[in-house]
Amino acid sequence: MTDRLEVGIGERPKSSEQEAKRRSRVLMKGNDAVAEAAIQAGCDAYFGYPITPQAELLEWMARRMPELGRVFVQAESELGAINMALGAAATGARVLVSSSSPGISLMAEAMSYMAGSGTPMVLINVMRAGPGLGGIGPSQSDYFQATKGHGHGDYRVPVLAPASIGEAMELTADAFELAERYRTPVMVVFDGILGQAMEPVELRFRNPARKAFDWALTGAAGRPARVIKSIDLVPEVLEKRNIALQRKYAEISRHEVRWATESMEDAEYVLVAYGTAARVARSAIEKARAKGIKAGLFRPITLWPFPSRELARVARRAHAILTVELSSGQMVEDVRLAVEGRCPVGFHGRMGGLVPTPDEVVGALKALHGKVERTREHERDEQRKRQHAPAAAPAERTHRVEADAAARGHALADAPAGRRDGGER
């Protein structure tokens, strides 16, 4: 497979820089590109188990890792794969594991152990539709799983969500760096579309610098023995470990939040989407602008830590937010937490391996736009009435407002979250 790679990076024509740039782009499948990016990032060992739609990643590793004298093992299960990764990572090796949703569920156990014991590792989830065996179509229905903890216990792992194959390659190298800097598993999540599609990518690779680890198991020659573990049966000691973990997560939240924005300068309506959904949103934004809706894109790149503060700033200026996901609405919960009622938040999503079309998203956006504009118009009317009304009946008006609020509160409790703000499925 090296041949295929060298197509782009071999002889570069000296004639023009542009030609060199053109030639350095090769058409690569997402799963293959990410696998090669991991290899170029210095991945020492890969452990995997076949599952669609990530099998190409495993196959690329099966071919390339032995070529380079590195470790590839096809495990007996995802349990086997992730625990092999745990062992290899405990010795300080740079380790990659990949799977797809049902396999990630099996890996949840070891993720908890690795988070608890501070073992760095990169785990790629090429998400497919669930629940259960579900289907093999693209999906983002593992957002909760990735960001709210896979296994048991109080822990988080950084979750990176690329929206293109090129970005997936960059984030794979970044993931190794984050994992080693913070001694934590790191997840990279994308879906079957990014995994299976081919895109022209620049062969720009990065191999993060290696540090000497003072915790790695290398054999206790000339030093006291080291133990990598998560158990502590003394509650006070275990609480201390947990406090240290939470401090680490606070530090990650301070320093590692990533997001991207597009067309936000004059945007009144903000689409929040990640991964493949962000690409659909991007097309929808163009169409919406052609129809006179000033739309922009806010794209979380780290799903945890979620760019809450940044989104809150956006929400202060926005008329409304529409979250687009390949799920029933998972990230939208974090969007609402970040927005804290500063503006209405709508949702549009498809499930089961289906991807919303840009037109669908524009439709949802128009519905939200219409509702918000009507509400704004109504508020302006109310304000005008208040300005012109005689100051005589404050008691009556107060009473009306209270009744109104009570009625609205009741309606809010009953209405399905995704529809409340106008975003229709």
Binding site: V73, G80, N83, A85, G87, T218, A225, V227, K229
Partner: protein, 291 residues
């Protein structure tokens, strides 16, 4: 790897000499094991063998979930904790990236023969160059004495209060014999901690299993039949008698397979490249050498 010459040999004939001492690799502390438990004996044997073979500085061991979960508190070697049953997979990961290390798992019967059967079977099938020390006391001791896959028929436990009934609870597993079928297994043996003679034989088995790994053989396993006085509801002495009687009857002692290191190494050539590990998995079509 060279053997450690005995530094305690007397300088001159007739001088007092030390014939028995605690190996340094055994931590200087009392264990959490119940009175009369066999784990301490197995720890001790392992420590002696590791010391004699000069292994502690090269060792990366995997601690299980179960009574031996704190094994790292008693053996001064690098340790990683594995989730319940996953020790052979963890050990595989270590082995593959650290070809020079001595890699060891220490597992109980619940860990190895119930929740971790897939991991132990496939580590053995790959002929993974690791050594598993398998302590079989026929019960889940740590959680209060529940039935294990190795619990004898009729044996009362907290989860088989009227005795293990094969119609409802199936039969005890002789997992070491099962594993011995696999060509990736270079050495598999079963010993016991029942008395001094058996302990001596068990030590020889552990030593042989370690040597298999050192010499580049495939998977090696030693099952140590042990007791659980508390879980069995017996005094330590009664539990030893029980061990010598019905337990050994159900789990015969001896070497179950020793294919020899040469057979394991005679598989396919090592993986090319700097991380080559001789004997790192025989070819799927390699004929199984006779025991």
């Amino acid at each position: 790897m060279t053997l450690n010459p005995n530094p305690e040999l007397p300088a001159r004939p007739g001088a007092p000499r030390l014939i028995y001492r605690k190996p340094d690799v055994l931590a200087d502390r009392s264990t959490h094991y119940c009175p009369g438990c066999g784990h301490g004996i197995v720890h001790r044997l392992l420590a002696e063998v590791m010391t004699e073979l000069d292994l502690p500085a090269h060792t990366i061991a995997v601690a299980p979930v179960g009574c031996a979960v704190f094994a790292y508190d008693y053996l001064n070697v690098d340790f990683v904790e594995a989730p319940h049953g996953r020790a052979p997979a963890v050990a595989t990961g270590i082995r593959r990236v650290r070809p020079e290390a001595f890699v060891l798992t220490y597992q109980g019967d619940g860990d190895l023969a119930a929740i971790g059967t897939a991991e132990i079977v496939h580590a053995a099938a790959r002929g993974e160059r690791i050594t598993a020390i398998f302590v079989n006391n026929g019960i889940y001791g740590m959680t209060g004495g529940q039935m294990a896959p190795t619990t004898l028929l009729g044996q009362r436990t907290t989860s088989s209060p009227t005795g293990r009934d094969p119609l409802l609870m199936g039969y005890p597993i002789r997992i070491t014999e099962m594993l011995a079928q696999l060509p990736g297994v270079t050495y598999a043996a079963r010993g016991s901690i029942a008395d001094a003679s058996q302990i001596g034989k068990l030590k020889a088995m552990i030593r042989r299993a370690c040597m298999v790994q050192i010499e580049g053989g495939g998977f090696s396993l030693v099952e140590a039949l042990s007791n659980c006085p508390v879980g069995w509801g017996m005094t330590p002495q009664e539990s030893i008698e029980h061990l010598k009687g019905p337990v050994v009857e159900a789990y015969p002692l001896g070497v179950i397979v020793d294919r020899g290191v040469a057979a394991a190494v005679a598989g396919p050539g090592p993986v090319p490249g700097p991380r080559a590990v001789p004997g790192d998995g025989p070819a799927p079509d390699a004929p199984a050498p006779e025991a």
